[in-house]
């Protein structure tokens, strides 16, 4: 995989042992919650749609560890991962998927709109491209207030062809905003390969120059590598040097959404990528770095127990009271449009 800048950064930001364990844990958090979400679908306990990040955990995890607590993040309908890594509770996420009162938004938003403002997770956006300019706005606000906060914005490869991408990138570059745009290139939009509808090979990286930005490609399945570029981009933003655009190559293990078995993908492609599953790959690296198996197993058991407990809690939570549907349109809590 071609990498620009990333290997350099990887050297600068070799994570220490504790950081590595954090990275592993965050990936596991996502992996096991997403798997559980899948199971809950099968049991018809989750309705509507849902877009899993299975296979793409390394990107969210790396940023989750690299970001400051008060940074802002913006993500898409495929946003369970990005919300969890900021610190949102598993009960809140699973409960929201199940449409329960304990959900992050008490069932009003659903799987595609996870938001946890107290953790800086400022929303999951289900209209492709919309959140890029919004993330730029949060970065503008940080710049204006002089807080050194950074806004991180996650999106897919397919998003690079829509107008809002272009407007946000130029705007952020011109205003030198502290925002990091992270393109998770998983090779597909819904069912259509990105290569068939994009004029360039690297849909984000090959556009960076159009905004006078560095072209950055990183192996999105290597959590250390993503962590390194994340640290560099965040530092750049905090230093007032402006936005970054990062393209992380990755692959989703399942289909686009609940409804999609993902059959349009060639078997050899799937197999090749499954060999590069970020979790076993990273586990192996940790072992090879002399981290004891037992320590890893302890983390795994812990996360598994947390997911089980969260599932139980979400299951036991009641559906939101119907009156809730009629609240919080306005800041006064209500929904009146007349007197």
């Amino acid at each position: 995989m071609s990498q620009t800048g990333a290997s350099q950064a990887a050297q600068d930001c070799e994570p220490d042992r504790a950081t590595r364990l954090q990275l592993y844990r965050k990936m596991l958090d996502v992996r096991l919650v997403e798997k559980r979400a899948y199971d809950l679908f099968m049991q018809n306990l989750i309705k509507g749609t849902s877009h899993l990040a299975l296979g793409q955990e390394a990107i969210a995890a790396a940023f989750g560890v690299a970001m400051r607590k008060d940074d802002y993040s913006f993500c898409t309908y495929r946003g369970h991962a990005h919300t969890l890594v900021r610190g949102a509770s598993m009960v809140g996420v699973l409960g929201e998927l199940m449409g329960r009162e304990c959900g992050l938004m008490a069932g009003k938003g659903g799987s595609m709109h996870l938001t946890s403002a107290e953790h800086g997770a400022l929303g999951s956006y289900a209209i492709v491209g919309a959140h890029l300019p919004i993330a730029a706005g949060a970065a503008w606000s940080a710049q204006y207030r002089g807080t050194q906060q950074v806004a991180v914005c996650f999106f897919g490869d397919g998003t690079t062809n829509i107008g809002a991408f272009h407007e946000a990138l130029n705007f952020a570059a011109v205003w030198k905003l502290p925002v990091v745009f992270v393109c998770e290139n998983n090779l597909y939009m819904e069912y259509t390969p990105i290569g068939t509808v994009t004029a360039v090979q690297h849909p984000a990286a090959d556009r960076a120059a159009a905004y006078a930005l560095e072209s950055i490609i990183v192996d999105g399945n290597d959590v250390d590598a993503v962590y390194a570029v994340a640290m560099r981009a965040l530092a750049r933003a905090r230093a007032g040097e402006g936005p970054s655009l990062i393209e992380a190559k990755t692959y989703r293990h399942s289909g686009h959404s609940r409804a999609d078995p993902g059959k349009y993908r060639p078997t050899p492609e799937i197999e090749a990528w499954m060999k590069r599953d970020p979790l076993p790959m990273y586990r192996q690296r940790l072992v090879s770095l002399s981290i004891p198996e037992a320590e890893l197993a302890a983390i795994e058991n812990d996360v598994r127990a947390q997911v089980d407990a969260a599932t139980e809690a979400a299951r036991n939570s009641r559906p939101p009271p119907v009156e809730l549907a009629f609240t919080q349109l306005w800041a006064d809590g209500g929904f009146a449009w007349r007197n």
Partner: protein, 325 residues
């Protein structure tokens, strides 16, 4: 006659028109190779080939711009906007360009384009994938607006839309894709601008659209059997052109008007119909007009919440009975 799903009727309607007229082309996201995310356009690529059935990037302005430019130069494109909510990202092309071009050019340019899109709620998709936005289109001079409730109407009205020389917004209702209905064998072509009287009553006229049509019919049954209220049910089908002749006749006949709208309250098409009746047949109205709508709210995702805001048969019956008291 044959049984067909609303979903399959979409592909059937498109195929019928593509087979008839080489100028008809079809484009959208995931519509070709994948057969559409609602599986409503399967088989078209295989039958008509990649020159006429085309997958696009996620770029709705490009999709509709391409359709518009093609329509101005001799083709008759059908463009899919996957969810009607996404019309917001290409609203300029729809409302400012397609709708106005003929008028601004004083008739130099013709715009035979159809925009198909999945409209409406019921799938627990949340606020950005569930809206009923047919009013967005109805508000714009220069757009025709159609919303079928049955498989036969899907084919007939789609054919009429494709053959129409003006831009037509074609709102399919995503909660109806799985429903079935009888469809005559052979070519089917309907007419834009005709409402359908589905049931004739004497006490009240229910005016409904798309997914609210079956609910209106069910409510009418209940009103009759449980409350002794005899209701006419009219399926509007076409918001522009609007069949005011049928609507006003049926409203005048019962003297009472109830509109049943899935869209949120403010400036809904029901308001327009009420305002026409209140002007033109004021003296035939025997009592207050009633609009039953989704409250003026975004759509919540949880199933019980979504069910609580959409007009249900229960709510329709209840509100009508209350107004009559």
């Amino acid at each position: 006659m044959e049984e067909l799903t609303y979903r399959d009727a979409v592909a059937r309607g498109i195929a019928q028109e593509m087979a008839r007229d080489e100028r008809v082309v079809f484009l959208g996201e995931d519509v070709a190779l994948a057969g559409g995310v609602f599986k409503a356009t399967g088989g078209l690529l295989e039958r008509f080939g990649p020159k006429r059935v085309r997958d696009t990037p996620i770029a709705e302005q490009a999709i509709l711009g391409a359709a518009m430019g093609a329509a101005m130069t001799g083709l008759r494109p059908i463009a899919e906007i996957m969810f009607s909510d996404f019309l917001a990202v290409c609203w300029d092309i729809v409302a400012n360009e397609m709708a106005k071009m003929r008028y601004m050019s004083n008739g130099q340019v013709t715009m035979p384009v159809v925009i198909r899109t999945a409209n409406g709620a019921g799938a627990r998709f949340g606020a950005q994938h569930s809206q009923s936005v047919e009013n967005w289109a109805m508000m714009i001079p220069g757009l025709k607006v159609v919303a079928p409730a049955t498989p036969a109407d899907v084919i007939g009205l789609l054919a009429a839309a494709v053959r129409d020389p003006d831009p037509v917004l074609f709102f399919e209702h995503k909660s109806l894709y799985g429903t079935k209905g009888h469809v005559p064998v052979g070519e089917l072509v309907d007419e834009l601008g005709k409402a359908k009287v589905l049931r004739q009553g004497n006490d009240v006229t229910l005016v409904a659209l798309a997914a609210m049509v079956p609910r209106a019919l069910a409510a009418a049954e209940r009103l009759a059997s449980e409350h002794g209220v005899s209701a006419t049910v009219v399926d509007v089908r076409s918001l522009v052109p609007l069949d005011t002749a049928t609507l006003l006749r049926e409203i005048a006949h019962t003297g009472r008007l109830v509109t049943i709208e899935e869209n949120p309250r403010l400036c809904g098409w029901g308001a327009e119909i009420v305002s026409i009746a209140a002007h033109e047949i004021f003296y035939s109205l025997d009592g207050p007009a009633l609009r039953i709508t989704t409250p003026h709210l975004p759509l919540p995702s949880a199933d019980n919440l979504e069910d609580a805001v959409l007009p249900t048969v229960n709510r329709i019956v209840k509100e009508i009975v209350e107004t009559f008291d």
